[in-house]
């Protein structure tokens, strides 16, 4: 599989107002490659640099040093910036602040309008994108009539309409209620499974990260863990040391192991956990 995102030795610091004093580095040398079709969660505490990293994947921020390549395009290449943003769409945390139009279907069409897509094709792609996220019946609604989860799905539809190869979601569920979170996660997973779109999900929810194929854990501007969820969550002490919680299931398994019971360390689903505990009783 080809790499869709390649990050080499990425350093970044926000330009400081005071020239003499060097601004603190937010990202301190990140190396990361993401393969096409992967479903990756980037997990980290507030201030770990995970959102800053996400903004580099869409050329909203450019590296202070190092290199970021998305779909073969260097993010520093200003001439190809729209090409890049078309193949790597970005969804933000606050659904209200990324919806441009007062009518759902026109908001989904916004990117296509900007790209100058002809009417017939635009109509088809907008309808498809709305059906994909399950918001087709709401196409003539005003965003203010929708719930947070619905708004976020409209925002996702606006990105899908561009036919991107990759979607970067920067804490898309942070402002939603549990129902909205479920809707959005289900939509993202379906996009990955059915359309083969690469997903980079920035989150601080453990249960969301556990649903991904791979987890990258960040702390203080560095990647500290990078593996499948089972392996990442088995490192309970390391996660706790950087201020992250582990899913309840993992915590239970960890406590059991500490107490000397023989359960496998790599359990992340409730069902596996129940089975492992039942086995103990046998």
């Amino acid at each position: 599989m080809e790499n869709i995102i390649e990050i080499e030795n990425l350093h970044f610091s926000y330009a400081s107002e005071d020239e003499k004093e060097a601004a603190p580095e937010v990202l301190k040398g990140i190396d990361l490659t993401i393969k096409s079709g992967e479903f990756v969660a980037v997990l980290g505490h507030n201030g770990s640099g995970k959102s800053t990293l996400a903004k580099h994947m869409n050329a909203i921020l450019l590296p202070t040093s190092g290199k970021v390549t998305v779909d073969g395009i260097d993010t520093a290449d200003e001439e190809r910036i729209f090409e890049l943003r078309q193949s790597a769409g970005m969804v933000f945390q606050n659904p209200d602040n990324q919806i441009v139009s007062s009518i759902v279907e026109e908001d989904v069409a916004f990117a296509l309008e900007n790209l100058g897509v002809p009417y017939e094709e635009m109509r088809r792609r907008v309808d498809e994108a709305l059906k994909d996220v399950g918001m087709y019946e709401y196409r003539m609604h005003s965003p203010s009539q929708l719930s947070g989860g619905q708004k976020q799905r409209v925002a996702i539809a606006g990105i899908i309409a561009m036919c991107p190869k990759c979607i970067i979601l920067d804490e898309p569920t942070a402002m939603l209620d549990p129902k909205g979170r479920k809707e959005v996660m289900a939509t993202i997973k379906r996009m990955n499974r059915e359309h083969g779109i690469t997903i980079v999900l920035i989150t601080h929810y453990m249960d969301e990260a556990a649903q991904c194929g791979r987890i990258v854990v960040m702390d203080k501007g560095r990647t500290v863990l990078d593996d499948v969820p089972e392996k990442v969550f088995s490192q309970v002490e390391k996660l706790k040391s950087i201020g992250l919680d582990v899913p309840q299931v993992t915590e239970l398994v960890w406590e059991l192991r500490k107490a000397g019971y023989d359960v496998p360390a790599e359990i992340i689903t409730e069902n596996d956990c129940v089975e492992a505990i039942l086995k103990l009783f046998e």
Binding site: N58, F82, R85, G89, N94, S102, G116, Y119, R123
Partner: protein, 268 residues
């Protein structure tokens, strides 16, 4: 309490007036205003009234709504009528008290002005009642698009207007939240002296502005992420197509305008 504020006051519907091309509706409304002001006789005004009420009837929006639209302008109407009534000194004297005089001509003019303004308000309300604000913005952008050649930022203005419309409900909701939050902290917003209330308004406006700027910043980033690059080379999902009924409506309006002008000129 702020939720009651409606801007543009659009009544969704499917009448013939609703379905007219918004570009034509704007032009027709402008012609309608010309119509009301081009004839100086009661007959002219009568023709204008027939036109207004026919259009209102066709829109299938209750007349009550149009009467409501006059209400906020009532003080203005009364002042206009008073000024005409007392300041016109020509004509036959009808009534006098110290320096106040009413003449028959003054009475005529003030009644005339009231009818004219009422028709004007009702007729132009019809435009906003039957056209959604976003469609209206779109139509204005297209009508003004020739000005782009003169480097007039037509697209940018329309984009600003539509974003403003999009964020009105969001900001109203936010204002409600801030008011509740400040009340919970003991701010007097509904009570206290006028000056105190005005001062407390600052505690609502400052957070509202800060949040609006933050929203603007995030929205700009989100727009860039969706390849927004100004107005050049854009295509539109919303297609405006003029139908025969649009030309028919325009023709009828022009006919009425001609009739008013003729009535003003010939039957003096």
């Amino acid at each position: 309490m702020l939720r009651d504020i409606t801007i543009g006051q659009f009544f969704p519907g499917n009448s013939i007036i609703h379905r007219l091309d918004p570009r034509f509706k704007i032009v027709i409304t402008l012609l309608f205003i010309v119509m009301l002001f081009s004839g100086g006789t009661l007959l002219c005004l009568g023709i204008g009234a027939v036109y207004t009420f026919t259009a209102i009837f066709l829109s299938r929006i209750p007349l009550k709504m149009f009467l409501k639209s006059i209400k906020p302008l009532l003080p203005f109407l009364i002042i206009t009528a008073m000024l005409n009534l007392f300041l016109v000194s020509s004509g036959e004297l009808l009534w006098q008290w110290k320096f106040l005089k009413i003449t028959d001509e003054g009475l005529n003019i003030s009644i005339f002005m009231i009818i004219r303004i009422v028709l004007l308000i009702m007729g132009s309300s019809l435009l906003t009642y039957t056209t959604s604000p976003i469609t209206l913005t779109d139509a204005i952008e297209r009508l003004l698009s020739p000005l782009r050649k003169l480097k007039f930022p037509v697209h940018e203005l329309a984009m600003m207007m539509s974003i403003a419309l999009r964020f009105i409900p969001t900001l109203i909701e936010e204002t409600d939240k801030i008011i509740s939050a400040q009340k919970a902290r003991g701010a007097e917003i509904d009570t206290g002296s006028f000056i105190n209330r005005a001062r407390n308004l600052v505690s609502i406006l400052v957070p509202l502005f800060i949040s609006a700027f933050r929203r603007a910043d995030e929205l700009a980033t989100a727009m860039e992420c969706r390849c927004y690059n100004g107005g050049s080379g854009r295509t539109r999902l919303r297609q405006l197509k003029s139908a025969p009924r649009d030309y028919a409506a325009l023709a009828v309006t022009i006919l009425f305008l001609a009739a008013v002008i003729a009535a003003g000129k010939l039957l003096r």
